[in-house]
Symmetry: C2
Subunit: 286 residues, 2 copies
């Protein structure tokens, strides 16, 4: 699935005139830096689990990665996390300057929504439902809201607030990768599977974040493609700082079991790819 | 019309939990700072010109102002134009800090698209066409692309490039305020009036920018709500720096005549409000 996604992302063009070619270059620099592509892979695997073809959801899958890339570019800015390395390369603002990095992020979001509007096939009413989920997951009640909570430092040593922060910051878009596909599906498939897939998506988002926090402590710079230990340097409350390394590992194991159980309810044996991705997210080293 | 728009914008809420209330506050600080509301007023006036009611396009009108506000917040950032005053008040980053200003802009865009998806009534296929125009007007081939050309300084002393910069940076969204309404209208109205309305919108965008450049030289800080002469300080190529004040005034007068002529072709006498807005844009002092 990743090869389909890489080819699709590589084929995307945003600029139609020389004057904006430099903006497209900055967008593609960050977009094609070789991330794990977890969100688009989840979208494709969800499609396969309910009998849809790869081609039927590629624009949505691409949009998910454009949105994720935009969030990384803005999160890395000096005013935010001030990170200089991402996916093993200089961050967008280090390479192109802050102004262009801000605009590259802005543009990636606009072009993500536009990609779905222009390329995604399906009943118009279903596409609107899909986009409503995608924009909710990336707005105040999603990704941007979560990043706000993160940078504003309102989370103290409170486990519930920490979980909520990550539900918004990463969980909602990971959830949208799954839910948006179901929103494009036929009425019967959607109504019978949506609640269980939602439970799976929520648990997967939590699992993703716990493992992310663990890797920030135990990973190496080379494997992560960014400096290890950056959460601690930024004074962030994480699952590790809150529950200790062993506590976080136990929570990850429980979250992994919960996610697999929810997946079994959602797709009972027909979702091998999603099961594999769940295991990958639980055991990944970068 | 402005009173309808102010009431609608004032009624918008973005945050549903205490943790993100501060983000909503920053969004509303910039959104409700009392701009001229030219884009939503244009949308409402266009709707009236083709027989649609105010209520039928308020979500779209609101979205246009959210997008415009987001672009102002990001354009004012230290890495961009580094402006500290906007609409007579400290800019968003001066008031709330850079990180929150970046996120407030990001969030306003997501919530703008979501507003149309959630609230705009109409045939789903027409809403998709409307949103496709809105996102095109605000992406690489529109507002963000124009801002990129502006900050990257690729425009030298070339009149055609200058006009193109402003077509993208401000013209496309001003055009979208008119075109998006037509895209929501019935097939007959749309097909018979779209080309003439497009010509009107293009000319109106040019007129707006020429007058903006003139006011940057002739206006006062108090009337403008921002420091006068900021274009010259930033070394920007403007209609005034390129053609002189008298040359720019002659171009504005010609553009005003062209816009009124195009409007007469589009709506032959049935668009009094749009004619008034055109005259206001040509003669405004702030």
């Amino acid at each position: 699935m990743r090869i389909d996604i890489e080819a699709y992302l590589d084929g995307l063009r945003f600029s139609v005139e020389p004057a904006t070619a430099g903006l497209e270059e900055a967008m593609r620099y960050s977009l094609l830096a070789g991330g794990k592509r977890i969100r688009p892979v989840l979208a494709l695997a969800t499609a396969h689990a309910i009998g849809m073809q790869t081609e039927a959801v590629l624009p949505l899958a691409g949009a998910l990665e454009l949105i994720h890339t935009y969030s990384l570019i803005h999160d890395d800015l000096p005013a935010m996390d001030d990170d200089s390395l991402r996916r093993g390369r200089p961050t967008c603002h280090v390479r192109y300057g802050e102004a262009i990095a801000i605009l590259a992020g802005d543009a990636l979001y606009a072009e993500a929504i536009r990609l779905v509007l222009a390329e995604q096939r399906g009943d118009p009413a279903r596409i609107i439902a899909c986009l409503a989920e995608l924009t909710a997951a990336s707005g105040v009640q999603g990704m941007v809201g979560g990043q706000y909570i993160d940078v504003s430092g309102v989370v103290e040593e409170d486990g519930a607030e920490l979980r909520r922060l990550h539900e918004l910051k990463t969980g909602r878009l990971i959830g949208a990768a799954i839910e948006c596909v179901l929103l494009l599906a036929d009425e019967h498939t959607r109504s019978t599977t949506l609640p269980d897939f939602r439970a799976f998506a929520t648990e997967l988002g939590v699992l993703f974040q716990i493992v992310d926090d663990i890797l920030d402590v135990t990973g190496t710079d080379v494997a992560l493609g960014k400096p290890q230990g950056s959460d601690e340097r930024h004074g962030k409350v994480t699952y590790v700082s809150r529950y200790g390394l062993e506590g976080a590992r136990a929570m990850a194991a429980e979250s992994h079991r919960n996610a697999r159980a929810a997946l079994d309810r959602a797709a009972s044996g027909k979702a091998l790819e999603l099961a594999q991705i769940t295991d990958f997210i639980a055991t990944r080293t970068s």
